[in-house]
């Protein structure tokens, strides 16, 4: 999301988006190859250090914990109680009984989610979405898909502003939303203006894109400039080779 980017000039910010993307891919592969008991936490610590050097550690930690903590809590509770194997080691805790295997499973899953979200978020925090999309379209991502990605990112914040305005307009026409919950009938006048408005916008937006030569044939210029270097290209190749090697090694294990 647009709001997840925090501007900066750190090394991490300045790296080519594809270099960062390759590193993210390697880290995600490692996440599944390293033993779940300690690998995820190790990677998480590594990402936090990187985030610290880029000056985004605090905000990253806050976002990740806000998402992961409630999830982890429910995982521990549900898996702890309901983990299937009948021979699981019971751990009685007051009125409920947890199992050792269930808790372990919950721990590994939560740790993985924690590390995974931190890795992805670090990329988004340090890479402007327009740069990311531009780098991908340069490597063959269709322009139309890049466009849809960017429009979606831009329009989400606007949608929430419109939702507020719609609520104001319909309450001013006597729609009761303050006492008790909304009846289903009450949702139609809140959702339809958003949908109808979006559909009407489509035609005008298509005209606007035509007016701005979006479909014009011929070469395009880009205002955004991405800085790449031979060193980064080498690093990218090495990263991709490591990913391949790791996957090959993992598969080979099954045959030994």
């Amino acid at each position: 999301m647009q709001s997840s980017y925090s501007p900066g000039i750190s090394l991490l910010h300045r790296l080519h988006p594809l270099t960062k993307l390759a590193a993210v891919a390697l880290l995600l592969v490692l996440l599944y190859i390293l033993p779940g008991e300690w690998g995820s936490l190790l990677l998480f610590a590594f990402v936090l250090i990187l985030a610290f050097t880029a000056g985004v550690a605090g905000s990253l930690l806050r976002t990740v914990l806000r998402v992961i903590l409630p999830l982890a809590f429910s995982l521990f509770l549900i898996q702890g109680i309901l983990f299937p194997p009948a021979d699981a080691t019971p751990i009685p805790l007051g009125p409920i009984t947890l199992t050792r295997e269930g808790l372990l499973f919950a721990y590994i899953t939560s740790a993985r989610l924690l590390a995974m979200s931190a890795i992805v978020l670090l990329l988004l925090r340090t890479t402007h979405p327009a740069d990311l999309v531009y780098a991908l379209t340069q490597r063959g991502l269709p322009r139309s898909i890049g466009y849809i990605l960017l429009v979606t990112l831009q329009i989400i914040p606007d949608m929430s502003a419109r939702a507020t305005a719609i609520l104001e307009a319909q309450r001013s026409r006597g729609l009761e939303t303050q006492r008790g919950f909304l009846r289903f009938r009450g949702l139609v006048p809140l959702i339809s203006p958003l949908v109808v408005g979006a559909l009407v916008d489509v035609e005008e937006r298509a005209m606007a894109l035509e007016s701005r030569a979006y479909t014009a044939p011929g070469p395009k210029t880009s205002l955004r400039q991405l800085f790449d270097s031979p060193a980064q290209r080498v690093v990218r190749v090495l990263l991709l080779l490591s990913i391949l090697a790791l996957i090959a090694w993992r598969i080979a294990q099954y045959f030994m």
Partner: protein, 589 residues
């Protein structure tokens, strides 16, 4: 050039019917526009103005589908044979709905301006140069790094203009460019377009605001039900009787001068003016002969409206302060009483606190300090929906309101929410449809109506609540004169039923003609609360400095010499009793 004539826009016998249309949107149009000319297109809602704009911008027949006949060339390009993407180098189109014309693919104002230039592959340095030029031309430099979606409606409109101008098209087409703009921006837009025209850009614009069209256009083309009914120099066309016959109207200076002529105060041979300076000059000419002013006291009648203070209160606002969570204090101690039967204009610049105050009148916002009583009940102790029995609000962006499949269903929503029976609801709906002239469109989808009528639907939908107070935010934006006339009548009818209308608007002429009391806000405070016909020179100066004066008052101020006060009274009285449709093309001496 394969073009025999030297016209940059050349339409020959062009007719077009949309594939979903039942009658031609344009029929047998012949129009040739020379390079560098500024040509205005006027006509009622649904007359074909937007279709003509789309055609001249190359969107017909290759974007909008339908039946096309005739020949059309723009800047030497045949619009039938060329794709829209090729034509963009020759013509740029700016519509009235800025929001949907923002590409959405760029994150800052300056990148948005550069978007089209990137697409035609200009060198990077030139793109940057043109972005700087466009930012400067539209006074947007301080907004360069903002997100396009974080801008106000007026700023978005400027952004769309900047992005189009940066493409440097030889022909610029604008479809109701002023619909979202406030008076200072409208004035600077006219300046900018005149500049561009001097530099050789050809400009075609469609506009409901006849006064603005009159000051900008050299030439005016009039459309009615798809046919071109008049074409010529602005000063001649805009005072043609056919414009009154076809309910299009005249610019206000012409209306006022015509009334002055009827009262014997306009030089017999002088043509009717279309701009305020022409009006002032003509009145000065006769004004010097002071004996001719004598037989007019009956025309300069006493104000017909009762003073605001005598009315029974319906909303009482006392010492209201309001701060947003961001810490901005938007209201700094407001005390106002709104009475039954009043017609009130709430004026002020953007950011003065008008919208915040509006939202206090039905409890959408609750005061941080002080209190608001609606029909005697503290807004803190009730709900917005219950307030709707007493106060209905129509917000400016009607897209947020309309949702039903038919106009009638849209109108039923409010009365049903208030718990009226089916029979009562139908009665209220019928009355509201009738009041706004929408009875014939009751079974049509609101979005199938032209934008002007769509706004009337939104207003009717709140009017159907039949609440004591009806509040309208920018109700005349994008309306044609017949629609404005209906609002004017609505205000009169509400007052006759001892009900109240409150209008927030940049359209000072409408506020002057339709409403009595005027409240001016600045920096979260009320700086003026009076009636239009009780304003002295100082009060008028406050209004002129804060927003702008209605045209009639501005002319009156320009004439301000004491011996000419009879003219002033005539002017202001005329303006408050006649609207652009009311003037009769009387016998001319």
């Amino acid at each position: 050039m394969n073009q025999p004539s030297n016209s940059i826009i050349d339409l020959r016998d062009v007719s077009f019917t949309y594939s979903i249309g039942t009658r031609p949107a344009l029929s047998h149009i012949n129009l040739a526009i020379a390079p560098g000319q500024i040509c205005g297109v006027v006509g009622r809602a649904g007359a074909g103005k937007s279709t003509l704009c789309a055609l001249c911008a190359g969107f017909i027949p290759n974007f909008y589908e339908g039946t096309f006949s005739g020949a059309a060339t723009i800047d030497g390009q045949d619009v039938v044979q060329r794709a829209v993407a090729e034509l963009v180098r020759h013509v740029g189109l700016v519509g009235s709905n800025a929001f949907s014309q923002i590409s959405g693919a760029r994150f800052t104002v300056s990148e948005e301006i550069g978007f089209g230039l990137e697409n035609i592959g200009l060198p990077r340095e030139e793109i940057i140069e043109r972005i700087e030029w466009a930012l400067g031309a539209l006074h947007m430099s301080e907004l360069r790094d903002r997100s396009p979606y974080a801008l106000s409606g007026g700023q978005q409109q400027r952004l769309v203009l900047a992005a189009t101008l940066a493409m440097r098209p030889p022909v610029l087409v604008l479809d109701e460019p002023t619909a979202q703009l406030d008076p200072p921006t409208i004035e600077s837009l006219a300046e900018l377009l005149r500049d561009l025209s001097r530099q050789g850009t050809t400009i075609l614009f469609a506009e409901h605001r006849l006064e603005w069209a009159a000051t900008l256009a050299e030439r005016i083309v009039v459309l009615d039900t798809g046919e071109l009914i008049a074409d010529g120099p602005a000063a001649e066309v805009l005072t043609e009787p056919i414009l009154l016959e076809r309910q299009i109207g005249w610019p206000r200076p012409a209306i006022l001068a015509n009334a002055a002529r009827d009262a014997g105060l306009w030089p017999g041979t002088r043509p009717l003016p279309i701009a305020v300076d022409g009006l002032v000059a003509g009145l000065r000419e006769t004004g010097s002969a002071s004996e001719r002013l004598a037989p007019t006291p009956s025309t300069a009648a006493a104000p017909s409206v009762t003073p605001a203070t005598s009315q029974a209160p319906i909303i009482e606002i006392s010492n209201v302060r309001f701060s947003y969570p961001s810490g901005v204090e938007a209201l700094k101690g407001i005390s106002l009483t709104i009475g039954k039967g009043e017609r009130i204009a709430l004026l002020g610049r953007n950011g003065a606190g008008k919208s915040t105050l509006l939202r206090h009148l039905n409890g959408l916002l609750l005061p941080s300090a002080g209190q608001v009583l609606v029909a005697g009940t503290d807004t803190r102790k009730t709900t917005v929906a219950r307030c709707a029995r007493h106060v209905g609000i129509v917000f400016q962006d009607i897209r947020n309101q309309l949702f039903a499949r038919t106009v009638r269903d849209e109108l039923r929503f409010g009365p049903r929410n208030l718990g009226y029976s089916t029979a009562e609801t139908e009665q209220k709906v019928d009355r509201a449809l009738d009041a706004l002239g929408l009875t014939d469109f009751a079974n049509i989808h609101p979005y199938d109506l032209p934008p002007a009528l769509r706004r009337l639907v939104a207003i009717a939908a709140v009017a159907a609540l039949e609440s004591t107070v009806l509040i309208l935010d920018e109700p005349t934006a994008g309306l044609d004169n017949p629609s404005i006339e209906r609002l004017n009548n609505l205000a009169a009818n509400l007052a006759a039923q001892n009900r109240t209308m409150v209008v927030v608007s940049h359209d000072l002429d409408f506020c002057f003609e339709a409403l009595d009391r005027v409240i001016v806000m600045k920096d979260g405070q009320v700086i003026l609360d009076s009636n239009w016909d009780r304003l002295d020179h100082n009060a008028r100066t406050i209004i002129a400095d804060t927003v702008e004066l209605p045209l009639a008052l501005a002319a009156d101020e320009a004439l301000a010499a004491p011996e000419q006060s009879a003219i002033g009274q005539l002017l202001t009285h005329t303006a408050q009793t006649l609207t652009p449709l009311h003037a009769q093309p009387t016998t001319r001496a």
